[in-house]
Subunit: 397 residues, 2 copies
């Protein structure tokens, strides 16, 4: 039988990251290509204790069908926390628990976008979100990401078409670049979204992982006009395997998302929601976050130091103040794809080619992404040393 697939899915293919990760099954290969939290960052002892307590105290709660909106005590707690930061308005906002922020971001496209509606995103941006948007047949427009955030003039030019439904922004320690959007640009994006009636999807998976510099207010905290949908996740601060995220947004939008959630997967694994709730109420989250920042600060500094020491001086790179990634750029006009291919095949180090994060993988970029959260210190040092040798062979000292 011949299957005719929907237009939606014909637009997406398996992410290039997954293709690269295939090489990493080779035990010889050092992977700087992942985006996983450091395993030592998981609070295993507390999670084990809490999980046991859940089953000893109220097993049926953790096993029976639950509400599509999410576990009520967890939702109420998150609303209170966000409200304290000025990121949730009980008058106008609602909050839904999702199966990771991935589902929250994908659902925003599902509820707001018809085919050919435009979603503006940073170029480069997180491939998982770009593919999620493509899977609803939207038209993606990449806006050049500068040191301090999107190019506002480019953004306004696209907004002028009147077809932009959503502006997708990862304002803190962006994936893949590690760059952070400045306060001025956050205000600028907010004003433009308001002026042209677009919704901002502010995706903030790494905000709690700032290990340098001063915190910058979220766009959600500026929102007086129902412009911002704000997605967060427990993946980077608790554990990604439990798949618990959430999004706070204007009530009308969340109400539609609840209906979508009901038909997409009924509700998020309830054991994981109770686990997250009990962790937040029984453990010292601030202390836990401090320990995470310590781990990532160390790993980031180690990687930057090894890049400085080993890489060809022709390669430029970002110096993130948080998150999991460093973005490296080869000299103008050099062949990034052959660099990444030689890196994994000859030097046994996996990195992610930058075009994986562009709106179209055919878009030109001389950059690649390095991850410092997953590898061990030894792997970081050995991996950067090997990449250094390749870079000097290709581009000189």
């Amino acid at each position: 039988m011949n299957y005719k697939f929907s237009e939606k899915v014909s637009h997406i293919q398996a992410s290039a990251i997954r293709e690269i990760l295939k090489f990493t099954s080779d035990p010889e290969v050092i992977s700087l290509a992942a985006g996983n939290p450091a395993p030592e960052a998981f609070p295993v002892k507390e999670i084990t204790r809490i999980s046991n307590e859940i089953f000893n105290e109220d097993p049926i709660l953790a096993l029976q069908y639950s509400l599509s909106e999410g576990y009520t005590p967890l939702r109420d707690l998150l609303k209170k926390d966000l409200e304290a930061k000025g990121e949730f308005d009980p008058e106008s906002d609602e909050l839904i628990i999702t199966s990771g922020a991935q589902q929250a971001n994908a659902m925003i496209a599902k509820v707001l976008c018809d085919p050919d509606d435009i979603i503006c995103c940073e170029a480069p941006s997180f491939i998982g979100s770009l593919n999620a948007f493509k899977s609803y047949n939207v038209c993606l427009k990449g806006i050049t990401l500068e040191e301090d955030g999107m190019n506002l003039a480019e953004l306004e030019d696209v907004l002028k078409t009147g077809k932009v439904k959503v502006i997708y922004v990862i304002a803190n320690f962006q994936n893949p670049t590690g760059l952070t959007t400045s306060l001025e640009k956050r205000k600028g994006i907010y004003e433009l979204a308001k002026k042209y009636g677009a919704v901002i999807l502010e995706d903030n998976p790494y905000g709690d992982l700032r290990f340098d510099g001063e915190n910058i207010p979220s766009m959600k905290s500026m929102d007086k006009d129902g412009v911002v949908a704000y997605s967060r996740t427990f993946s980077k601060v608790l554990a990604p395997g439990i798949r618990v995220g959430y999004i706070s947004a204007p009530k009308e939008i969340v109400n539609k998302m609840v209906i979508c959630k009901q038909v997409d997967d009924v509700h998020t694994n309830i054991w994981a929601q109770v686990l997250a709730y009990r962790f937040l109420t029984e453990c010292d989250m601030n202390e836990h976050l401090a320990s995470l920042r310590k781990i990532y600060k160390h790993k980031c500094e180690l990687m930057l130091e090894q890049i400085e020491k080993n890489f060809s001086s022709k390669i430029t790179y970002t110096k993130p103040q948080g998150g999991l990634f460093v973005w490296c750029t080869l000299p103008e006009g050099s062949d990034m794809t052959s660099f990444c291919t030689r890196a994994v095949q000859e030097f046994k180090v996996a990195v992610v080619p930058g075009n994986a994060f562009m709106v179209s993988e055919s878009d030109k970029t001389a950059s690649f992404r390095l991850n410092f959260s997953t590898p061990t210190d030894e792997q970081l040092i050995a991996g950067c040393e090997k990449l250094g040798r390749l870079s000097k062979e290709m581009f000189g000292e």
Copy 2:
């Protein structure tokens, strides 16, 4: 700000079941409206033990990111089990773990259907799937469900339009009717799907809950032509709150679903997948299923006996051989909505009005759904007695 939502979601609204369930928060109300497994059916002791072992033996496995296809040992085990039943062909089929069968069924619509493509479903059918299909803007055609399954002539008339992508069938103890499709009709549906190039989505959540009569081969077990996608779930045999389902289908279809899964929620909660795997390998599933069948056989017989004893003889009803539901039909031309409304408001018994399960809630039906899995024996007896009084008041002895 005014939000313009996508056409997709403007087609769906919160399910009527949820509206009814609101009344059930009133402690006075006896709910025969749910579809939850009996809490006493959960193997709490084994799940508690296995969950503790997971965290004691390999916590990182249960907390770190995992594969979109699902946990490999669980997938391999399920493939082997299905292959033994003739329901998986290693040559041509693949299998993906989903966040409940709800996600598997919704994804079939996402990967196969463009707007206005037709999905044929039984009328009545499971509202959760109908709304999932609507959320991809498909055109639903309800095919009259007879005692032994879909009316094949009606089905073929719709297939002749050439626009049918999917035929959705719950062949065993269907939700909401409790009816089972005969072997002849399964063969008939299969031949028609093959002839007109439509995919059969065979949804089998209740197949293991047969407590009477002989097992009937699935359409998937007849599939030599890559026609059938076969979705199953752990919701009714282990626990629904863990949200673990799976679907076996021709490789080409599953490969597309893996890409969708990656962008929809990355992967299903991995702790829950390891839990399901270890339960299947460490516990006696046959013994567990036998105990479930015993529970549901008792509850079903009790409900049928109480209906027989209390209801007006003008009300007809199905006698299911498995599953969770009984379907009752009022005398021709009577007002089902007022019956259901009076039942919950005056007699404090919640049932689900049959129109909730029709392609359009405005479609006429004189039927309503009763659930026997969730209520206690006492609630079953009291609920049927109250409904009996109402039925005799409205329709005589």
